[in-house]
């Protein structure tokens, strides 16, 4: 569906996007992830034809971007960051204008706008001026703008920024729903958003792709380190330290806190290809400690993200 090869963009001397390549299949929801200034927005702007790449090729379906720009624009619905709409227009007038430019005739326009009003929850604001809208409502109108012709590819730049938690869940549901049939690319720096909506993650840092894989693989890829959390009663740190350091694979033993009732919280850093939980349990069983909590911290995308994008 989308094929990007060696895409590069320079702003004067500054290289914002550096030779990135990726492929996106039909029906995928891709999360473009990266810290601020990593080149996410620049990449999306090139995909939508707003910026001309300094070098590299973009092919969407069978169209080359620099030859069939107009055809490509018809395939893509795009919501730029923070949805900059015309301030002086009414919401209905704006959507009607967009529908007109998208080439819909009068009847089509009305029925499509009705559908979008239901989908994006706009019924109460249709006759309000856009500059009176709150950030969240503005964002929803922007989403309606992007989905006007039911495009095959939907590109959303930070679609949930500025929304309240309920709206975020709503918008994610909308994206998931659309993503069943359409190709969706969304950029964000909110990690839970990617976890909640995307099939595949592309992590960009300083204009380069540092990871591109499905969610599960990305989580595993960042080494075999994991953490085990233990809460023990009736135990002494010195003793615990001695016992656990005998286990092969336990790298580090940290005391987190010692409560007054003798509750000892510790965190084990493990690096081992096998699951150490059984060995740890056996060790505890042989002592007189009372185990009150025992869990493995699951590796979040957050930790992976930090590992991949941290400063050298």
């Amino acid at each position: 569906m989308i094929h990007v090869e060696n895409l590069t963009k320079y702003y004067n001397d500054f290289c914002a996007v550096d030779q990135i390549s990726f492929d996106i299949k039909k029906g995928e929801i891709i999360g473009l992830l990266g810290p601020n200034g990593a080149g996410k927005t620049t990449t999306l702007r090139m995909l939508t034809g707003y910026f001309m790449p300094s070098s590299g090729t973009i092919r969407i379906k069978d169209y080359l971007l620099d030859e069939h720009l107009l055809e490509i624009k018809k395939l893509i619905g795009y919501l730029p960051e923070s949805a900059p709409l015309y301030h002086s227009m009414l919401v209905f007038d704006y959507l009607d204008y967009v529908a007109g430019i998208r080439g819909m005739d009068k009847n089509q326009r009305i029925s499509r706008i009705r559908q979008l009003v239901n989908l994006c929850g706009l019924d109460e604001i249709m006759h309000r001026s856009i500059n009176e809208l709150s950030k969240g409502l503005n964002q929803r109108v922007g989403l309606a703008h992007a989905m006007m012709t039911d495009p095959e590819i939907l590109i959303l730049d930070e679609p949930t920024s500025g929304l309240d938690p309920n709206q975020i869940v709503e918008i994610r549901n909308i994206i998931r729903k659309i993503g069943k049939e359409k190709t969706v690319i969304l950029s964000t720096h909110i990690l839970s958003e990617v976890e909640a909506t995307c099939d595949r993650v592309v992590i960009i840092n300083k204009g380069k792709i540092v990871a591109d894989d499905i969610m599960e693989n990305i989580k595993q890829s960042a080494g075999q380190k994991y953490f085990i959390h233990l809460d023990l009663l009736n135990a002494d740190f010195q003793d615990v330290n001695e016992q656990f350091s005998r286990i092969e694979g336990v790298e580090k033993i940290q005391k987190i806190q010692e409560a007054q009732n003798g509750n000892l919280s510790i965190r084990l850093t493990c690096e081992s290809p096998v699951d150490l939980r059984e060995t740890i349990y056996q060790t505890i069983k042989q002592t007189s400690w009372v185990l009150i909590e025992f869990h493995q911290e699951t590796k979040t995308l957050e930790t992976v993200f930090r590992e991949l994008t941290k400063e050298d």
């Binding site: 034809g49 002086s88 430019i101």
Partner: protein, 234 residues
């Protein structure tokens, strides 16, 4: 072309949603009406020469005020990104905005038709120069709209766009009155650059292809420079 018309419609409507249109048209009518009729009865001549003489100066003020927002506002708000990623070409956008500006100038000129109609009752009005004058006014307006569009594409600040546009329009209007500053060899060329000079010819009722070509080339250069300025941005 259809897309350009849609954009033109939207831009034209925008003028009348905001107070810009009403303010600009009122000021235009006040200024031209005042300067025209204060001297009109001294001359005791049934023509519109004074009205047309003043037009290049008032246009130099007012047209940049009309065009200053066309690109600056879009760049400032960021809506240009949404517009350009819709299935339109840059030519559509440029043409749409240009036509909206020209249409606005034409609308602003309509109330002034009251002057020749009144004068026709008072004396023997020669309609030839009047028709030529209005044709010239629209051409002059189109040229200044193109210049104003260019100024608007340079910056996201509307005030700067207005001042730059006004400076260029003024220069074009007044350059043939400042010929004594220039070396003799250049006089012909620089005299030809003056908008006022060409406008005067048309408003006398003489429709010369040189004058029409002059205005059309200013339009073309203005629009093409706008294209270059906007292309540099992405």
């Amino acid at each position: 072309m259809q897309q350009a018309i849609r954009i033109c419609k939207k831009e034209f409507k925008d003028y009348f949603i905001s107070p810009i249109a009403y303010i600009v048209i009122s000021i235009f009518l006040l200024v031209t009406g005042w300067f025209f009729f204060t001297t009109f009865f001294y001359y005791n001549q049934a023509d519109l020469r004074n009205f047309f003489n003043l037009l290049p100066i008032t246009f130099s003020f007012l047209i940049p005020a009309v065009t200053m927002r066309l690109f600056s506002e879009e760049l400032n708000v960021g809506s240009y990104e949404m517009l350009l990623t819709l299935p339109v070409t840059f030519a559509d956008i440029l043409l749409g905005k240009f036509l909206a500006g020209v249409l606005f100038v034409a609308i602003a000129l309509i109330p002034t038709l009251a002057y020749p109609i009144c004068i026709a009752f008072m004396g023997q009005l020669d309609w030839g120069p009047v028709a030529g004058g209005y044709l010239g006014a629209v051409l002059l307006g189109a040229a200044f709209v193109a210049v104003g569009l260019f100024a608007s594409s340079l910056t996201r600040n509307q005030i700067i766009a207005f001042i730059v546009g006004m400076t260029i329009c003024f220069t074009l209007t007044l350059i043939d009155k400042m010929l004594f500053f220039f070396p003799r060899a250049l006089l012909g060329v620089i005299g030809y650059l003056g908008a006022d000079f060409h406008f005067k010819n048309i408003s006398k009722g003489i429709i010369d292809s040189r004058d029409i070509i002059y205005f059309l080339s200013v339009v073309f250069i203005g629009l093409y420079s706008t294209y270059l300025a906007m292309r540099g941005k992405n």
